[in-house]
């Protein structure tokens, strides 16, 4: 009887705990829901206000885009790479069997070569190491020669292979996806590097690779087994994004669409970091930019650029005159203001299976010429050219210097669709 009572009490206690837990969860959810509703309301309000908004002229977008490409890499990336590298090298020097490599992973739309080159520029001066960087900015035109060109470029000889003493030479391959092409003879470079890394432990290796290619290499040649240290570039936070884009935003005089000037001090800031934000609109904007870009610098930069609008406003006096003297019509003076509306991700257009194959191949390689793309798909160049043309018109591809790349604006939705269609597995960045 007593045991039954005890069981009953325990049951009631458990139930009460569960109810408490549920109440806590609801309490926790309510403020979030409230803020979400507010954000939606702000979005709707902004949409209503967007009636007279036009995008920036293409020439201006091109100029700004060029300036963004010239921006130094975000400080967060620089600090993260440098500290990881120092840590991995220290471990390698201290321990006999420690791994002699570090892999930096990033999304296929991030400029990995640039990120690694810039991050290493300071590091070299601080640590007095000799750095040997693979200087390729593009894949060798003949993919069959990748292996021999790797050998030639990095100057590895048989003597290097035999050397057992740990040297202060840092071997850097900024973008591993340049060392392969998805075709029968296009994987020789990767297999060669794999062997080299295993046999040559006298030098430390820093390798940059895009996440999709890394996933592919892990499946086809278990590359992860050769690299103990892998590190993904950290996502950028709202303030970091703002600081990174500040040099460009100083070039333009604009208001946030909610009405506050970018240079004026605003009120009602959400946190105590008032010195970081000029207005609550600015804070809202970068918070949303952080969320929708998932902290990827290239996606955020492109979305930031595309959220500039030109607002046409009639002069207040002219407005009044218009109302009073409708008979005496004269052309009203129109003022053009640049405003920054809240950023939005564009919807991915409906794609065919063949288009998915093309987009996946581009993500896998980072960038490709049309001939390389055709080779990686095992299709004739003409067929691929037609499909690429369609994708370019849809704005999914960028075409610069004869090379095709994914458009960062669509990257996150494309990745989601590729996961849902079994091209990629969940973990890919």
């Amino acid at each position: 009887m007593f045991a039954l009572d005890l069981a009953g009490v325990t049951f009631i206690k458990n139930m009460l705990n569960k109810i408490k837990f549920l109440v806590e969860k609801i309490k926790d959810w309510l403020p979030k829901a409230q803020s979400q509703i507010k954000a939606h309301a702000a979005e709707i309000e902004a949409k209503i206000k967007q009636e007279n908004l036009n995008p920036l002229p293409q020439s201006q977008i091109k100029t700004l885009s060029h300036e963004i490409n010239r921006l130094p890499i975000p400080q967060t990336y620089r600090d993260a790479i440098q500290s990881k590298l120092t840590e991995a090298i220290a471990q390698w020097q201290e321990q006999e069997d420690a791994a002699n490599s570090l892999v930096i992973l990033g999304s296929p739309v991030e400029p990995l070569s640039k990120i690694l080159n810039e991050a290493l520029a300071d590091w070299e001066q601080q640590h007095f190491w000799t750095i040997k960087i693979l200087s390729w900015s593009e894949r060798p035109s003949n993919y069959v020669t990748i292996k021999s060109q790797l050998l030639q470029e990095m100057g590895w000889t048989q003597d290097n292979h035999q050397q057992s003493e740990k040297s202060r030479v840092l071997m850097v391959i900024p973008d591993l996806s340049l060392c392969f092409l998805r075709c029968i003879d296009g994987l020789d470079g990767i297999e060669y590097l794999q062997d080299l890394l295993l046999n040559n432990r006298s030098q430390f290796w820093l390798i940059g690779c895009n996440e999709w290619a890394w996933q592919y290499f892990n499946i086809i040649c278990q590359l992860e087994a050769y690299f103990d240290h892998t590190f993904s570039l950290p996502p950028l936070e709202d303030l970091e994004l703002k600081q990174w884009l500040t040099p460009i935003s100083k070039m333009i005089k604009f208001n946030f669409l909610n009405g506050k000037n970018n240079q004026n001090q605003g009120s009602q800031l959400k946190d105590d970091n008032e010195e970081n934000w000029s207005s609550s609109s600015e804070q809202d904007y970068f918070q949303k930019l952080e969320v929708i870009s998932q902290g990827l610098s290239s996606v955020a930069a492109k979305l930031w650029l595309l959220s500039f609008r030109i607002q046409e406003e009639k002069d207040e006096e002219e407005k009044n005159n218009d109302e009073l003297t409708s008979a005496n019509k004269s052309e009203p003076e129109i003022k053009e203001n640049i405003v920054l509306k809240l950023p939005n991700l564009n919807n991915l257009p409906e794609l065919t299976k063949n288009e998915f194959y093309i987009l996946f191949s581009l993500g896998l390689h980072g960038e490709l010429t049309l001939s390389e793309l055709a080779l990686s798909l095992g299709e004739p160049k003409n067929t691929v050219q037609n499909q690429v043309q369609v994708l370019r018109q849809l704005g999914l591809l960028n075409f610069n210097n004869n090379r095709l790349r994914l458009n960062p604006v669509y990257y996150l939705q494309l990745k989601k669709d590729l996961v849902n269609n079994y091209f990629l597995t969940e973990g890919a960045k």
Partner: protein, 289 residues
């Protein structure tokens, strides 16, 4: 002299049973009115329309959703169809029949006998269709081989399934084949189905080299689903060596273009590295033909 009297109660009893049967039959069938007929026509029209719309909607939706959800959407169609038809049949019977427990029993008995004689195969297919819904030897979207036919199941009807063959022919196969025939299902509810490609090469080829080429062919095909294992196995023939490449396409629908892609690129590589094909002895080649 024939004594008639002992038979009188028996004849009376027979007459009584007959009258009762006639009465019962009239009890089973309710009064048929114009309104009821109109209702029946309406039920048939609504059911037909709904079935047609649902089929169109689900087929459309299954092509719109991602590969991950395609089969889930398609598999719902047979269940929805069975439910709708069942509901319509009950409503229809309820209009014209008094569905008391006794009547239902009598009706099913009569129907069973009638069906047993007249529509034996049809009834067998219907029942097999219902069994197959739950046993699931095949589902919409599966790639199956039943008898001489291989292809993707594109429709799951009440009586049978429709298979789309690689030559784009549509073949109807009754469900009652599941009682007697063996059914080979290549993907069983998954979007991937293993593809096996045979390569016949000369005995003298470098096995290591051929194996590496075949693995590379699979790894570098745009169609390959890399999360599934890729395997090269060998078999020996008197006139050559058989290499079998086993791998999976991302989408089972691409099975034949995938196979073509693998063969095309493997042959290009074999030509590049001078890998020779077997030459059949004259007698054997005739047999082989």
């Amino acid at each position: 002299m024939f004594n008639f009297f002992p038979w009188v109660p028996l004849i009376y009893t027979f007459a009584q049973v007959e009258t009762e049967a006639v009465n019962k039959a009239s009890e089973l069938i309710t009064e048929i009115t114009i309104w009821k007929v109109a209702q029946a026509v309406l039920i048939i029209a609504i059911t037909y329309g709904t079935l047609w719309s649902i089929e169109k909607l689900i087929n459309w939706l299954s092509e719109k959703v991602s590969l991950k959800n395609r089969l889930i959407v398609r598999e719902s169609l047979p269940f929805l169809r069975a439910f709708l038809l069942g509901l319509a049949t009950v409503l229809f019977l309820n209009l014209f029949l008094n569905l008391s427990p006794n009547n239902v029993l009598a009706l099913t008995g009569t129907a069973a006998v009638a069906l047993g004689f007249a529509f034996k195969d049809y009834a067998s297919s219907l029942i097999a269709g219902i069994v197959a819904l739950f046993e699931a030897p095949y589902q919409v979207g599966d790639r199956v081989k039943i008898g001489d036919y291989y292809g993707e199941i594109i429709s799951y009807g009440l009586r049978g399934i429709l298979i789309q063959t690689p030559d784009d022919d549509i073949v109807t196969i009754p469900h009652n084949k599941i009682w007697t025939e063996s059914i080979s299902n290549a993907n069983k509810g998954n979007v991937e189905a293993q593809t096996v490609v045979d390569f016949y090469l000369a005995h003298t080829v470098n096995i290591e080299q051929v194996t590496q080429i075949l693995y590379r062919v699979a790894y570098t095909s745009k169609y390959t689903q890399l999360k599934h294992p890729i395997l090269v196995v060998m078999d020996e023939k008197p006139w050559g060596t058989l290499f079998k490449l086993r791998c999976y396409p991302i989408d089972a629908r691409d099975e034949f273009v995938y196979k073509t892609d693998l063969i095309k690129r493997a042959k290009q590589a074999f030509a590049k590295y001078n890998i020779s094909y077997p030459v059949l002895p004259i007698g054997l080649s005739k047999d082989y033909e």
